[in-house]
Symmetry: C2
Subunit: 299 residues, 2 copies
């Protein structure tokens, strides 16, 4: 299962009760943080989440509302006596931007390992999840992220017995290991539906979101603007309209949509909720601290 907590839901600048957009994704006691605006570390505490679990930080792009909390967070990780390396992923230039911010966090007791991505989609494994990084359209280099937990097929005890697989090996085969010449494929059924979630902000709707958001258990998109008259502005600034997010969630057959990254000019985004549910009933106009545990579907 995957625990997902939206630490903040603000775009551009933080408001009282609305931190900047950041997402904390936990699987099996290991965590990924996506973006780190001002207020992120306080939100981690407020939601009783742990700093130590964070294995990697994914940055969507280099605008301040997605990175301004980073130097403070890096220091806090150090104060927690971290010595394990921290992996950071983001667009090309990430290391240089972080170096700039570290003017106030020059000494850390752990290493940061940078992974920079250009115009190509990439796949990595982090915190036990398969993470797909794909470029989106924000006018500057910006990445979207899909996180997935694949699920192997059911263990077929009859097959295992017929092949003479000793029972002590069953567990390891089920976990995907090849043991004593037996392969998982020998004893497992067809892979089953896993869990996936997608996070993409800030961006216009792009094909990659449709591709990687397909059948997602949760899709998190920006709700920068709600009013239809802001369409032109959204296009000009490479942001997404709330109704466009709902249309995407509907079209990719997502189980649930969370909106985030609201414009500070929208003090109450729930005023658009009814309109959005007309398009996609499983829309959540999320607030800070929105959380869910995504689980494998019952067989």
């Amino acid at each position: 299962m995957i625990d997902v907590t939206l630490l903040g839901t603000g775009g551009m600048l933080p408001l009282p009760g609305r931190s900047l957009t950041s997402l904390y994704v936990r699987h099996d006691g290991r965590a990924i943080l996506i973006d780190c605006g001002e207020g992120t570390q306080t939100a981690i505490r407020q939601n009783s989440l742990r700093f130590k679990n964070i294995e990697g930080i994914l940055i969507t792009h280099f605008h301040a509302d997605h990175m301004s909390g980073l130097p403070g967070l890096l220091l806090t990780l150090g104060n927690e006596a971290r010595t394990e390396p921290l992996h950071m992923y983001g667009p090309v230039g990430l290391e240089q931007v972080v170096a700039g911010l570290r003017v106030i966090a020059p000494e850390l007791p752990y290493e940061i390992i940078f992974h920079e991505y250009g115009e190509e989609t990439a796949e990595i494994t982090l915190a036990g999840l398969t993470v797909t990084l794909f470029p989106v359209d924000h006018g500057i280099p910006c990445l979207g992220y899909r996180m997935a937990l694949p699920r192997p097929g059911k263990f077929d005890a009859r097959k295992a017995k017929a092949l003479g697989v000793p029972m002590p090996l069953w567990g390891r085969l089920q976990k995907g290991e090849t043991v004593d010449g037996f392969t998982p494929a020998d004893v497992l059924g067809e892979p089953r539906r896993g869990i996936s979630l997608l996070y993409a902000t800030d961006t216009r709707p792009v094909p990659a979101i449709y591709e990687y958001g397909k059948d997602a258990d949760l899709i998190i998109l920006e709700g920068m603007y709600g009013d239809a008259e802001k369409q032109e502005r959204a296009e000009f600034t490479h942001h997404m309209m709330m109704h466009e997010a709902a249309q995407i969630a509907r079209d990719v057959n997502a189980a649930q949509l969370w909106l985030t990254h609201y414009s500070p000019a929208t003090p109450d985004p729930t005023e658009y909720e009814a309109m959005l549910k007309e398009i996609f009933p499983e829309t959540v106009v999320a607030a800070d601290g929105q959380s869910v545990t995504l689980q494998f579907m019952k067989d």
Copy 2:
């Protein structure tokens, strides 16, 4: 009069409900901000203060808990359509540190004018206040700040009449102008007690604090550690003990002491309040949002 609001009271790292130490000082609709850790801009909103009023930002030193909110604040000042230059004051190296942080806030619609100070005490005028900048002892370059509003003597109508000063000039003379050959000294009594406040964190007790804190209406010092057993640690890290702050306030004859910049290991600093009031009864173990209006004493 001077309005003083302690935006945050945290040291090292922000906690829920405790932003990093920052002070907002307003006089006559013009404001000074001292330090700008993560959470400062949200605290400005929370306390219904205005961004536009800020004429200058005073930085004590370059540790992250005093500067991490700066890039976000600079952008927010830009979003408020600021075009007037912003003055920044701090230790030597300020411009370079701010340049590093501006990697995520590269474009601003206003100019920043930097004023860097070394080992010498200096005096400037900002937001209509006389500000004294003096070095303190934090192991790295660090400045303390005194802000004062002088008060001219009482207008002596009998003197003015005797000298034949036309009544339409009285107001300007009282404001300190020299008009038509008449000087303020001709018509004003002895200067009266003004208002002063002092802000010094992070630092060991140093003579300059005693000098510039003398008879202060308000003295704001750090309460990094409360337990007596932390004395050695305070000396090693160049911080101040709570009881040392109270002793200073008593010795300089301050009207009031506010403590701030608590260690995150001290979730409830008020547990030391009774002990501190034994030393200096007018001690306030301040919390975020502590505010006061300092007024001229009645004649």
